[in-house]
């Protein structure tokens, strides 16, 4: 079985802040990591490979330094890494990204399954997976929480819904996005790390994948950022002052009124 896992390098979101004075992202000391949901997708792919045989290819679109994320993927069990990288991709929204990835996947040839994390923690859009499925015209399921079996070109799985789950069956090739509940990702192994160190990622440029320049990057995006800003919250607040006992007294009075 040939499995492709889409991974994304993201800043560790909990550390990112917008400096309200300069309106810039304070990224100092912010580490780049593999999108946590993608780790689960990768783990699911590696488990499938261990069960049914085959190969796992990690693919990422990003600047050259995103190769680091492909190394992580190989250290955790992927067989190879593909870096889709070109200055022409800059400014891509999810629409242009799914186009670019679709062209790259087509370039890689036949596959059975594409796995994605349910969303990336920097954008939280959850759109590239479904967009990619549509562009490749393959069946797709979001929020897989369990893969039951995968035989004779048919995959059975459970899809997490807001109020329970659905048992699903679909023919391959297909794409699915996974939620955290699907597994507990492994840490990289020593042998994996060594393999990762030697790994040479296949680099694909816009020309390599035969992309239409009008569909790439900012040019190919259907959405544009009008402005980026620090969220403003305002409330008419009333500070309760005094000793701790006095503060608690006032709180109790307010609670009495409210409840």
């Amino acid at each position: 079985m040939k499995i492709i896992v889409c991974v994304k390098q993201v800043p560790d979101a909990k550390d990112v802040r917008l400096d309200p004075k300069t309106n810039t992202l304070a990224r100092e000391g912010v580490e780049s990591i593999m999108n946590p949901f993608d780790r689960h997708a990768l783990e699911a792919a590696v488990v499938l490979k261990e069960q049914y045989g085959g190969t796992v290819t990690a693919i990422t679109m990003g600047p050259p330094q995103a190769e680091e994320t492909l190394r992580d993927a190989v250290a955790c069990g992927a067989d190879e890494g593909v870096l889709v990288s070109d200055r022409a991709f800059a400014g891509a929204d999810t629409w242009a990204t799914s186009y670019t990835l679709a062209k790259a996947v087509e370039k890689l040839g036949e596959f059975d399954l594409i796995l994605c994390g349910k969303q990336a923690i920097d954008g939280d859009t959850a759109q590239v997976g479904p967009g990619l499925a549509q562009r490749l015209d393959i069946p797709y399921v979001a929020y897989a929480r369990k893969i039951t079996e995968c035989v004779d070109g048919v995959i059975r799985l459970e899809r997490l819904m807001d109020d329970g789950y659905d048992e699903i069956e679909m023919g391959m090739p297909a794409l699915m996005t996974v939620v955290k509940e699907i597994n507990e990702p492994r840490v990289p192994s020593l042998k994996g790390k060594m393999k990762a160190k030697k790994m040479q990622a296949t680099v694909l440029t816009a020309a390599d994948i035969g992309a239409d320049p009008e569909c790439l990057g900012l040019q190919g995006s259907t959405t544009q950022v009008v402005k980026v800003f620090s969220p403003q919250f305002s409330a008419e607040r009333c500070m309760l002052t005094g000793t701790v006992d006095e503060q608690v007294d006032q709180l109790l009075v307010k609670l009495e009124e409210l409840l």
């Binding site: 192994s189 020593l190 042998k191």
Partner: protein, 385 residues
């Protein structure tokens, strides 16, 4: 940080072990300690990361590393939990006798499953009357046709009940004194072999400790490790290479305690400033750091000395064990002092560290016995000229 000039491979070992510690060990250590629960899943994670084969030659499915590689991994695990690290280290202790003295067949049979982490190993030496004085061993092995028949009881055996492979020492000919002991491989499923109840301990509660009970336990003849009568020799060689591992548990534990103490001292406010600002506190922390780094340097040096193929390693090995484990006891106690009331409470991690530290001064040869070894080595060294 002091630069110890790790190779790229060694740095990878540190990175892999550190990630397991951060992602798997630290989140679970409190629960494992409180429930006295064996860390089966964490050991599987360690196995999956190829670290069980760290010290095992490549021809037996291992990584082909040495004592220093083990030291690096154990130090990282011990930063998270000495109980978990001990369970990992004890498997190596059980494997070393086979590696050091076993036949090619024995190695081929047992090393690959130990290297993959599929089966845990353990080491059976201590008995009720044979602790520091190994000559008090009562367990016997008698050859009966094609089988050895073992009788006796081993005490306080780490991993007992959870391991599948045991390296056990028994007397095969009492008349020969120290040359009358031999080592055997006993498997979990061997007839006549059972375990005592799980012991309740002060610290390292994630590790399991039980008795090994042999009642006419029959094992095939070829389970003898090395030649008959070489048991003590194998034990001594085993402990020589394993002691730096215990020492590194002290280093990892000391580092963890120092980390907690410094972070706490920086955020705890008293008299209007962080307690870190007081020299009385700074000096305690400075002494902790000094002893810690000196211990680490000695442990690394001893492990590299062993890996160099040097013949006589007992002294270096014992010295680092004493220094690093005494340091760990001192540093963890000081960390509790720095955190004071908070440190004494179980919601902070340092009281567990202090409880865990004590065993390091006791097991794999008490620190008093280590000093005997060092003393005897000195005596020998200075009588040569």
């Amino acid at each position: 940080m002091v630069n110890y000039f790790l190779s790229e491979e060694q740095q990878m070992i540190v990175d892999v072990a550190r990630q397991i510690t951060a992602e798997k060990i630290v989140p679970q250590r409190v629960e494992l300690d409180e429930k006295e629960q064996f860390p089966t899943e964490i050991l599987q994670d360690i196995a999956q990361a190829d670290l069980f084969g760290l010290y095992i030659p490549e021809e037996y499915g291992g990584f082909g590393g040495g004592s220093f590689d083990m030291v690096l991994a154990l130090e990282e695990f011990a930063r998270g939990c000495v109980g978990v690290a001990t369970s990992f280290a004890a498997s190596a202790l059980g494997a070393y006798p086979i590696l050091i003295s076993g036949s090619k067949e024995l190695k081929q049979k047992y090393m690959p499953v130990i290297a993959s982490g599929e089966k845990l190993a353990a080491f059976g030496l201590t008995e009720a009357n044979a602790g520091s004085d190994a000559s008090g061993i009562q367990t016997t092995a008698v050859l009966d046709g094609d089988e050895w028949v073992l009788n006796g009881t081993k005490q306080w055996i780490t991993n007992a009940g959870d391991a599948k492979i045991y390296s056990v020492i028994a007397i095969t000919d009492r008349s020969k004194g120290p040359r009358g002991a031999s080592m055997f491989v006993v498997e979990d499923s061997d007839p006549g072999f059972s375990y005592g109840p799980k012991e309740k301990k002060l610290g390292i509660r994630a590790s399991s400790t039980r008795e090994l009970i042999f009642k006419d336990c029959r094992i095939p003849k070829d389970r003898l490790i090395g030649r008959q009568g070489t048991g003590f020799f194998t034990v001594m060689k085993t402990l020589d290479v394993s002691r730096p591992g215990i020492a590194s548990l002290g280093v990892g534990l000391g580092q963890a305690a120092l980390d907690e103490a410094v972070l706490y001292a920086k955020q705890r406010i008293q008299f209007g400033k962080p307690v870190m600002a007081f020299q009385a506190v700074q000096h305690i922390l400075a002494d902790m750091a000094i002893q810690l780094e000196a211990s680490r340097a000695l442990v690394y040096a001893a492990a590299r000395h062993i890996d160099s193929g040097a013949k006589d390693v007992s002294k270096a090995s014992s010295m680092c064990k004493v220094m690093a484990t005494d340091m760990a006891m001192k540093v963890t106690t000081d960390a509790v002092q720095i955190l004071a009331g908070h440190g004494y409470m179980r919601e902070y991690p340092v009281e567990k560290m202090m409880r865990d530290a004590k065993i390091l001064q006791i097991y794999e040869g008490t620190n008093q016995i280590q000093r005997n070894v060092i003393g005897q080595a000195l005596n020998k060294e200075y009588s040569r000229s």
